[in-house]
């Protein structure tokens, strides 16, 4: 590297320059004259106190400039990366010359090795967050779910039911004939099952194609799902899937996992712009990874239960296929990971495979009029045409 002073004229000019010097020991200002001497690596900047004539030398190669100054009328230099001494140059001429003499003038920066330390800390943070979110919390939540008495779970589910749906602007559909039809499907599927609590299946007036198993056996169908289904077998298949969740107490697990991971994701984003949105998306990703396994387990449970009752396990796949055909599953790129259900195609294939194993067909799930009553459970004459989504 070349730190040589370009010419003697410059060095002479520098000799006439003055600056303010702070020695880093006291806050008192010293007036110094500046002079550059020496060549190449040995070039130094001499600072001479105009009163005491004490002299200090800074190696040119080590000099750093303090960056991001608000106004370009005072430039601040330091002998190296660590020393607290400061030189304030205000004379524009001297400054320009010094900067031209030091083409490689570096700005004061982070000490060496901080990159390695940074990468190490990133790795540590990733490991710690992974261990907490995917190790500690799921294990503790599963343990907690086993400790909760069933009565509490039932009350918790009822509480959630009363909070969640009114908040969405939905109400419970209570047409007696429709409810009776739904109860008939439920009775057929649950006979002889050893469940922690009875299933309570209901329909709410929410137009989306969805169903949920809240804690404590509260299974909720959205109106959109009931009306889009083309046969009672499809509704039965979805109910069988939700019964699978109930049998595994997945609703309670999900509540406890959410409780356990509360606030942890938000830490990462801090006050970064759109941080809360990013945190919400990440929370969704984590919830989805928690539930992927639960969904697969519930599907498998449903296949077995349907086959036992003489209903084709393929009905679940038929229903998923219908959602897919209507372009309602979010099976695209990034969205795929946001959906809490495993890739629909995989689930359709699993369902078809379960049907291929064979089962003895039983009685139809509902009579034609019961089926019509179920489809009208939320009132309003003709069912909505397939694919309508709220």
């Amino acid at each position: 590297m070349e730190y040589a002073i370009r010419n003697q004229a410059f060095a002479d000019k520098m000799a006439m320059s003055y600056a303010e010097f702070f020695d880093g020991i006291t806050p008192m200002v010293q007036r110094v004259s500046l002079r550059v001497s020496g060549q190449g690596e040995a070039a130094v900047l001499e600072l001479k106190n105009v009163e005491t004539h004490a002299e200090i030398r800074w190696r040119l190669a080590d000099i750093r400039q303090v960056p991001d100054q608000a106004r370009e009328d005072a430039f601040i230099f330091t002998p190296d990366n660590d020393a607290p001494a400061r030189l304030v140059i205000r004379e524009a001429e001297a400054l320009r010359e010094l900067v031209t003499a030091l083409p490689d003038l570096k700005t004061l920066g982070a000490p060496k090795g901080s990159w390695r330390k940074m990468i190490g800390m990133v790795a540590a943070a990733v490991v710690a967050f992974g261990a907490i979110l995917f190790g500690l919390i799921p294990v503790m939540a599963d343990r907690g779910a086993e400790l909760i008495p069933p009565e509490t779970e039932m009350a918790l589910g009822q509480g959630l039911f009363e909070q969640v749906y009114p908040a969405m602007g939905a109400y419970e559909c209570t047409d007696p004939a429709g409810q009776a039809a739904l109860d008939r499907i439920q009775a057929r599927l649950t006979r002889g099952l050893d469940l922690p609590y009875p299933i309570q299946a209901r329909v709410v007036s929410e137009p989306s194609l969805n169903a949920a198993a809240l804690p404590g056996g509260h299974v909720t169908f959205h109106r959109g799902l009931i009306e889009a289904a083309q046969s009672p077998e499809e509704v039965a298949a979805v109910l069988a899937h939700e019964i699978g969740h109930v049998a595994h107490r997945d609703g309670t697990r999900a509540v406890l996992r959410t409780m356990g991971s509360f606030g942890i994701i938000g830490l990462v984003y801090g006050d970064f712009l759109g941080g809360s949105a990013m945190a919400a998306v990440s929370q969704q990703l984590i919830t989805s990874s928690y539930s992927r396994e639960a969904e697969e387990r519930a599907d498998a449970y449903a296949h077995e239960l349907l086959a036992r009752e003489g209903i084709s396990p393929g009905a679940l796949g038929v229903f998923f296929q219908r959602i897919r055909d209507q372009g309602l599953d979010m099976d695209l790129g990034v969205f795929q990971h946001l959906s809490t259900h495993p890739e629909t195609l995989t689930r359709i294939e699993a369902s078809a495979a379960a049907a291929a194993v064979g089962f003895t067909p039983g009685d139809p799930v509902l009579s034609a009029e019961d089926w019509a009553a179920l489809q009208r459970i939320c009132g309003g004459g003709a069912p909505l045409s397939g694919g309508t989504k709220g």
Binding site: V66, R71, L136, L156
Partner: protein
């Protein structure tokens, strides 16, 4: 020697460039650059503040801030996970008969963070002090974040319980705690005075606050029975002929209460600043005006919103042009097929990018129109008396704070920059 006055050197144009550059870098790096951005802002503002003509200096680095943040979030995640799990099991135990308690359990987490937030504030301030210099001499702060946290919790609770009557006690004790632990080189800051001196600026607030409460109480006396009945019977509330004026006056009262709260905060800051000394009797003054700060907030807020609207319009027009330019147009009509996934993805991306760009502009304009004039106003009111006493001060050792303000960053209690 005469008193040292403080000048503020630095223009909005330079700050605008810095804010734009770092704002977009932050957006492009998904927020990763924000540690370096904060650092660069601090360096800029510090160098603009020039007591006695010599710029202050901020020596923190983005790298140490990032490392400190990672360190902090690991500890906080462990703390929260531990707390959540304990809260979970306790609520499960207690929940045998009262299912609602599970929800209270979830609500307990923010409560558990309150002392941590105070601790984070103290540590963030300590970090900033340790990275600030003037005339080559370091500022610094002694350890004491937990002592601050429990005091802050205690005095906050007292303030809440007495409906603001003990607010001056909280203000004074916490400020004294912070001041008495602050250093410039070998000289220590000391807070003199007593909390009684803060009651003067508090009186307008107390009158308005208590008056507002009384108005609402008076108004509710008529409305409350009808309200309770409507809740218990689950029927919509019938319009009563209760007087409306207490509520109207109460709304005005809220506005005044808020304004007088701001006045109290600025005035108490001024009063306490006049009663601080450094080392052996070096005195200084810092006296921002409430009305200037309020004016900056109002005018700055209007300018920020105006400028952001203009920028947002340009961004949206550009986004639509780009969208049409690359042939994205949603199929129309009932017979149209479902749009291709790639089209939806591209549109979503375009939308997200536009939103981020608008947010970046908003932050830049806030910086230019609010933060900048605020800092300038406060800085220009700083005066140091008897500067000859500075000669007794010597350098202090470098203080390594490992979290580098990371707790405050993680908990989002950082402030403007």
């Amino acid at each position: 020697m005469s008193a040292l006055k403080t000048e503020f050197g630095g223009g909005r144009g330079d700050l605008f460039q810095l804010a734009m550059k770092t704002g977009f870098l932050t957006a492009l790096t998904f927020g990763l650059y924000r540690f370096w951005q904060t650092t660069r802002f601090r360096r800029w503002y510090w160098s603009a503040v020039r007591p006695g003509g010599t710029p202050m200096e901020y020596t923190g680095t983005g790298a140490e801030k990032f490392i400190g943040f990672l360190f902090a979030i690991i500890l906080l995640a462990l703390y929260l996970a531990f707390f959540n799990v304990v809260a979970m099991f306790i609520t499960i135990r207690l929940s045998a008969n009262t299912p609602g308690i599970l929800e209270y359990g979830a609500a307990a987490t923010p409560l558990a963070l309150i002392p941590i937030i105070f601790m984070a504030r103290y540590r963030a301030r300590r970090y900033i002090m340790s990275r600030s210099r003037w005339r080559g001499i370091r500022f610094g702060m002694s350890a004491g974040a937990w002592g601050y946290a429990w005091r802050a919790c205690l005095y906050s609770a007292l303030t809440l319980l007495t409906l603001g009557l003990l607010w001056p006690l909280r203000t004074f004790q916490l400020e004294k705690y912070l001041t008495d632990r602050s250093w410039f080189g070998t000289a220590r800051f000391t807070q003199f005075g007593s909390f009684w001196q803060l009651y003067g600026p508090l009186i307008p607030f107390l009158i308005c606050f208590w008056g507002t409460l009384a108005l609402y109480g008076y108004g509710l006396r008529y409305v409350l029975p009808a309200m309770l009945e409507s809740i218990s019977r689950g029927i919509p509330m019938v319009a009563s002929n209760a007087p409306a004026w207490p509520f109207l006056a109460g709304n005005l009262g809220i506005l005044l209460t808020f304004l007088f709260a701001v006045y109290y905060r600025v005035a108490s800051f001024r009063v306490m600043a006049a009663m601080k000394t450094l080392g052996d009797g070096l005195e200084f003054d810092i006296h921002p005006r409430t009305r200037t700060l309020v004016r900056i907030h109002i005018i700055g807020g209007i300018l920020t919103n105006l400028a952001t609207s203009v920028a947002a319009t340009i961004v949206i027009v550009a986004a639509i042009a780009i969208g049409m330019g690359i042939g994205i147009s949603l199929p129309s009509g009932p017979s149209a097929s479902v749009p291709e996934p790639s089209v939806i993805l591209a549109l979503t991306l375009l939308f997200v990018i536009s939103l981020v760009v608008i947010i970046v502009f908003y932050n830049v304009f806030r910086q230019i129109f609010i933060t900048f004039p605020m800092v300038r106003h406060v800085a220009e009111t700083l005066e140091i008396h008897e500067p000859s006493l500075l000669s007794t001060i010597r350098q202090r050792d470098r203080d390594d704070t490992r979290d580098a303000g990371g707790f405050a960053e993680a908990l989002n209690v950082g402030g403007a920059f």
